[in-house]
């Protein structure tokens, strides 16, 4: 694929605005930060009275995938070469890293930066740097497949 061929500025901005609306709604109605790793982590803590909104938000996230993929399956194509082993290592590091770092792209990158939080800005810089280094190694050293 030639440079910039896959760049989708309009669709990505519209999608971003929808993410912002959902996050703003969760704040206005529930008073919560829309951080997916934080919402998922809270389910494992099983605090009484703190479960329903978390479970329902994640069920909504899954339901969106079920419904949207029915009409637009191409939006879920992977198109990178990753072995099952690489996906497992990636999933484990994302799971542990987001809990240790108390946030992910949504919690730190959108809500945290949106709140002008110094912690979330530092976290976002941290995960952006290591993601870029990882992609550099996979694409430039290992030839794009792992």
């Amino acid at each position: 694929m030639s440079p910039m061929e896959s760049f989708t500025p309009i669709a990505s901005t519209i999608g971003g605005v929808l993410i912002g609306i959902a996050a703003a709604g969760l704040l206005m109605f529930h008073g919560r930060i829309a951080g997916i790793s934080g919402i998922a982590g809270g389910i494992f803590r099983r605090e009484p009275g703190d479960m329903a909104w978390r479970v329902m938000f994640l069920v909504g996230l899954l339901a969106a995938g079920v419904g949207w993929s029915f009409f637009f399956p191409q939006d879920y194509l992977v198109e990178i070469e990753r072995s099952t082993g690489a996906l497992i290592v990636a999933g484990l590091t994302v799971g542990i890293g987001t809990q240790l770092g108390s946030g992910c792209t949504s919690g730190h990158g959108v809500c945290g930066i949106g709140r002008l939080s110094k912690r979330s800005t530092v976290a976002t810089i941290s995960f952006m740097i290591t993601a870029a280094l990882t992609v550099f190694v996979v694409n430039e050293v290992l030839g794009g497949a792992i």
């Binding site: 959902a22 996230l61 890293g97 945290g112 110094k118």
Partner: protein, 157 residues
């Protein structure tokens, strides 16, 4: 009931936003970091689009509202210190993000879409999340600290 329906709708809108934004395609995530190949700046447009909506609502709500519409109080992060856990944990997350091309939201909504790659990644991710939470629970139990009553305030997102 309304709280459950509201949270469900929030998840639906969030998930559709991710799909329209292209964030459920790992190639677009990897493309954002592929500065030496075919760079795809889309991810930056997603973040800017979301923050432009979120920031004014956040500032207006926390300054002028006594409480959220359906909850007695806002549950917002209070910490401001930069610690090693924040930087190290985020760095570990970034490695997995670059490796798999999924972060937690896109992975979970792509499981709903029936993606086998997202299922493998997502299952491993939940094992990682669960293992960490279990480890912390055991550790807190041993040190006699309260079972994280202020957990919401300690977690940034």
């Amino acid at each position: 009931m309304k709280v459950k329906v509201g949270a469900f709708l929030g998840g639906v809108v969030f998930g559709i936003g991710l799909a329209i934004a292209g964030m459920t395609q790992p190639a677009k995530i990897v493309g954002f970091f592929d500065f030496f190949g075919s760079w795809d700046p889309s991810l930056a447009f997603v973040m800017v689009g979301a923050i432009i909506v979120y920031t004014p609502v956040y500032r207006w709500a926390i300054r002028t509202w006594q409480h959220p519409i359906w909850a007695p109080a806002f549950s917002l992060p209070t910490r401001e210190d930069i610690d090693g856990r924040l930087i190290l944990g985020s760095a570990i997350f970034g490695v997995g993000w670059g490796l798999g091309g999924y972060c937690p939201g896109p992975a979970l909504t792509s499981v709903g879409a029936g993606s086998s790659e997202a299922f493998t990644f997502g299952a491993a991710m939940l094992v990682g999340v669960g293992a960490y939470q279990l480890f912390m629970r055991i550790r807190e139990g041993r040190t006699g600290r309260p079972a994280d009553a202020q957990a919401a305030a300690m977690i940034d997102g």
